[in-house]
Amino acid sequence: MKFVEYGEIVENIKIGANAYKMTIVLPKISAEAKPGQFVNVYTGLGEMILPRPISINEYDAEKGTLAIIYQVSGKGSEYFTTLPVGTEVRCVGPLGNGFMIDNEIKKNIIVGGGIGLPPLVELIKHLDGENHVFIGSRTTPILVERLEELGAKVHIATDDGSVGFKGNVVQLLDEVKPEGGMIYSCGPKVMLKYLAKWAMENNIPCQVSLEERMACGIGACVGCAIKIQKKGESDWQHLKVCKDGPVFFGDEVIWDE
């Protein structure tokens, strides 16, 4: 069940170099949400007719609140930073299927790149096994404390070497060689592509949460196509990131083009 809700913003703060956290009162959506799902956030401005899809960072069904973490990457996200506490925003959600959680697994490898990190926070609350989080970031990453607070073991790779390993997160995985029964990941497409390759080489199933340009976000417009070749099928097909995803198995995604 999806809902259109007008939620009051109760928090909208800067939490990193280019990262903002917005907490919104959305009782219906937060009661229904699952880790890895997203919400459509609307600017309500006439010049921007499309919603902005943003992952759910954390939700609290009891309080009826939901948090998103966003970076400024254009006009809409820039506008979101100007919204004061008390403003109402229209949201539609929860959207997509979220991660496929397997709690038989004792050791999880969780990989987040840049602004792909936020949905992994809610995810680890739902994972019973040991959680090893690998973060790839250009510079000092966000959310490290929160992840540790939730019991995760955090490993960091930064491009500039300012924190942790100097290099990318797949190089870090090669260095640490973690063992695990499942990889859960979200981040830039290039990172996910090389991660999926790494996972195949190391024989670990790998879930990747993808982004694509969207219009409806609910599966009606077929705007958000991704090429997927399901195991055992002879040909690829265009699936919808918003409705069939945003999480797919890395070895089913056709990456190159």
């Binding site: 069940m1 999806k2 259109v4 609307y42 006439g46 010049e47 921007m48 007719i49 499309l50 919603p51 539609v92 694509e212 340009r213 969207m214 219009a215 409806c216 609910i218 599966g219 009606a220 417009c221 077929v222 705007g223 958000c224 196509a225 991704i226 097909q237 265009h238 409705k243 083009e257």
Partner: protein, 303 residues
């Protein structure tokens, strides 16, 4: 309060109100039915259906523009058999009319889908002639009067239901095409389809859409659409379903005054999932407040 009759008739098919959905923006109604009671709409116009499944274009397929958007979905659809099996039974649960939008790359493909659907339980056909004719070097069917007339008259043979022909605005004189399709046997026309547009990412120095160009839609195109509905209304004598940027009931009334019998809400569904129903309710309110008993009182009132 006075009693108003929001119903309209298009080629003998009665719609409880003039509001339908613009093909491709509403799927088959399934997804939006979580938010909108489809029984409140005059009709649901479904996403383009072809004889066989189409894979569509590469992503990215969507780009936002000021007050509008571009799409290059490329008419991805699961084909007529899937539509008959899954979408018709779903839509028949609601008290609304079904308009099936059909597409093809050749006259044979258009006829094949019309034939497959000829006994299907739909109320009207909408023929999308904005597709490239692959046998004629990719020229869009709807841009050459003779080609438009030909495809309509061929499809007409397989169509037992009223045939609406959807016009492309990417022509010099839309009234010429409108006259041609009526000569070919169109029972009604719908307009406008998307305008051809383009956006360039100046940082990447490449087009935003993988397909380079795409269809421009949304509130930004409304004045063009109103003008074309007005011109076509003066040129032909068949009912018009008007669309292009309709987001509010005021927009819809503008189209009706320009000459439209039906109105379709398209890209506005993305900005506001309730747009269709809000337009329908707004029209009814407007009629009451202005003591309009039937929309024919204001239809095409512009000289």
């Amino acid at each position: 309060m006075s009693n108003v009759n929001t119903a309209v008739k298009i080629c003998g098919v009665e719609m409880k109100n003039p509001v339908t959905t613009a093909s491709g923006t509403f799927g088959s109604g399934r997804e939006f039915s979580e938010f909108v009671d489809l029984s409140k709409l005059g009709a649901v116009t479904v996403k383009g259906v072809a004889a066989e499944p189409w894979k569509g274009n590469n992503a990215p397929r969507i780009a936002e523009t000021y007050g509008g958007m571009l799409n290059s979905v490329g008419l991805q659809n699961p084909g007529a058999d899937y539509f008959i099996e899954n979408d018709i039974p779903f839509l028949r649960q609601f008290d609304t009319k079904i308009i099936v939008n059909i597409c093809g790359h050749t006259i044979e493909e258009y006829c094949a889908v019309a034939e497959k659907l000829s006994d299907a339980d739909v109320d009207m056909f909408e023929l999308n002639i904005s597709c490239p004719n692959v046998k004629e070097g990719g020229i869009t069917f709807g841009t050459v009067p003779a080609m438009a007339e030909k495809v309509v008259s061929e499809v007409r043979k397989y169509c037992k239901k009223p045939l609406i022909v959807k016009l492309t605005p990417n022509v010099t004189d839309i009234t010429e095409i409108a006259k041609a399709v009526v000569a070919g046997g169109a029972d009604a026309v719908s307009l406008i389809n998307t305008l051809l547009g383009m956006r360039i990412d100046i940082n990447k120095r490449q087009p935003v859409l993988a397909n380079k160009v795409g269809g421009f839609s949304g509130p930004a195109i409304k004045p063009v659409a109103v003008r074309m509905v007005y011109q076509v209304g003066k040129a032909v004598d068949v009912p018009i379903i008007g669309m292009g940027g309709i987001a509010t009931w005021e927009d819809a009334i503008e189209f009706i005054m320009a000459g439209a019998t039906g109105v379709a809400v398209g890209s506005a569904n993305f900005a506001n999932p309730f747009a269709t129903v809000e337009v329908a309710e707004g029209i009814e309110r407007y009629m009451r407040e202005n003591n309009i008993k039937d929309l024919s009182e204001i239809r095409g009132i512009i000289d």
